[in-house]
């Protein structure tokens, strides 16, 4: 295990929010976390435990108040604001609970979007997007608009989009939260497939202990602190 490359390295991450000058709210009290290349980990915790804040920091949408964060060899604390969009584009693939596909834009164009911002050229971009949609089983609905897709289909398109620039990690925030259990199962199977077949590093944020159990490691957050890190079923099976 020690020989594997560290993709996420969080050390003593503290995040405080200031709601007016005297009111200081500390959400993360010093998080230490390591995620290795090719790992499938889950972060669980009740609402208010700091899950979302931690996800925002890992996803470089937010900065920690103090601490050290290295993502795939890039020191995120030292990165300039203007560099963060490029880092998100290249290293992170987001999957949201509410899919967040761009409206009035078909599945193919949605998957192409991160590559558009990365400056990937026309034909190459379309080919890659088609490949990814085939991978998630959406090859026959590439020209459909988000409005014409079911929740599970939308989430599969969103996963394909997250894979577009071959990121270092896929960050999935409650990806099955808005789906019924059988569709949710389908989406989880895709994550497993990406993990096993493509060796993707996946961080799954969820409040469901059953889903967390499927991953290699389960990280439990409570009141802004990591209370336990243990191997899940996925780890034992893998």
């Amino acid at each position: 295990m020690e020989e594997r490359k560290r993709i996420i390295d969080l050390q003593d991450i503290i995040k405080k929010f200031y709601i007016g000058t005297p009111n200081e709210l500390t959400v993360l009290h010093g998080i230490d976390l390591e995620v290795f290349e090719g790992e499938f980990v889950s972060v669980v915790g009740a609402s208010g435990s700091g899950k979302s804040t931690l996800m925002n920091i890992i996803g470089s949408l937010d900065r920690p108040t103090s601490g050290k964060y290295v993502l795939d060899g890039v020191d995120m604390v030292k990165a300039k604001d203007s560099e963060l969009s490029g880092i998100r584009n290249q290293k992170i693939g987001f999957v949201f609970q509410t899919y967040n596909l761009i409206a009035k834009t078909n599945a193919l164009k949605n998957v192409e979007m991160p590559m558009l911002y990365a400056g990937v050229h026309g034909k190459k971009r379309t080919e890659r997007a088609k490949e990814l949609l085939e991978l998630v089983g959406m090859g026959d609905r590439m020209k459909h608009l988000p409005e014409e897709l079911s929740g599970g289909q939308k989430q599969r398109v969103a996963i394909a989009r997250a894979m577009a620039n071959d990121p270092a990690i896929i960050l999935a925030d409650e990806p099955t939260g808005a789906l019924d259990s059988s569709t949710g199962r389908l989406v989880m199977d895709i994550f497993h497939k990406l993990h096993e077949e493509q060796g993707k590093t996946i961080v799954l944020i969820t409040h469901s202990p059953e889903l967390a159990e499927e991953t290699e490691r389960v990280i439990t957050l409570k009141d802004g602190l990591v209370t336990s890190i243990r191997s899940g079923m996925g780890g034992r099976l893998g």
Partner: protein
Amino acid sequence: MNLFLENIRLALFSLKANKMRALLTMLGIIIGISSVIAIMTVGNSLSSYMTSELSSMGTNNVYVSISRREAEKETSEDGNVFAEEESTVSITEYDLMTREMIENYAETYSDKIRAIGISRNLGSGQIEKGTTNIGVDVLGITLGYCATDNVELSAGRFFNKRETDGAKKVCIVSNKVVDKMFGGDNEAAIGSIVQTAIGTDYYDFTIVGIYDYEAGAGALASYMSMGSTTNMYIPYSTACEISHADYVVYFTVLTNAGVDPDEFANTTKQFFAPYYRNNRNWTIDSYSMASYVEMMSSMMGTLTTAISVIAGIALLVGGIGVMNIMLVSITERTREIGTRKALGAPNSSIRLQFIVEAVVICLIGGIIGIIIGVGGGSLAANLLLKSPATPSIGSIIGSLLFSMAIGIFFGYYPANKAAKMDPIEALRYE
């Protein structure tokens, strides 16, 4: 480039999704641009029409007329009363130009003058023959008048010396008169005697010549005289005899080629100045057709500018409308903005996206406005002037650039607001 085209595609998509809203937003731009273009088109047609109409009257013409001496500026407290008194000063026959003065003038500048046209208007008359009659304007003219005012005979001849010297009752009528009185038969008309009522008296005139009304006087003259009444020309001497007067209020000079009409107008003024040295109220003024055309077009220019300013205000209001709708649009699409940021869109490309959208709205509005403006302006030009419209290419290109500028100007603030959104807040937006 890819991203830019993508932005245009997105902008068109969002317009298509909200057709009514987009149309209402564009309305301000459409009204502004179409009124500018329509005014420009009508103004352009009008001034090119005026120029051609006026120059058909002769660009080498110099007009000489009696004019009021400018009121002296000595007036003080009771200036108003004084001015009123001044304006009531009537013109007497001693103030007018005599034939002698004009003959002198013609001799002095014989190398520069090709013709001098003098006319005496006897007012409206009526040609009667049996039960048919037709109204005419009776105008006594000299030979030079044909050259200065472009009277071209289509049949017959001009008055001869015997008729002019003897103040004979001969006349030249228009083809319109011949059409009505003689069924268009020129040969029957020439030599016929027609009874003409001028004022309260009747005179018998022999027709010696016929001029083509359309070719002779311009369309502008026809509008001025309401189209139906044409001129009946009689010898100047005959007109003097009928009106019992031989004084000239104004005359027209056709200068020789190579003579600068403006300069010659000044020379003319100076020539007549000594005659009026002792006249307190009246003097001779002279101006060229060229300066008249210039004055007309500068007047048109001022009018066009004034209306353009008003249209500019409409465009400003339209621009504010665009800004308003862009602000609504970015609020509605907050989640989309957040998502794009999470996918790695830099602020600059978010900003570009919304500026492009604003520019696309304004450009489409501008193009619709140009189409309506050119259409409306051409229609107006055709109806009013019966002349082909000449939309100015410059104003069309200008309008396109201006509507783009409005898009950039009024789109920048909302676009910048979108670019600066916090991605976390934006993603959480319901």
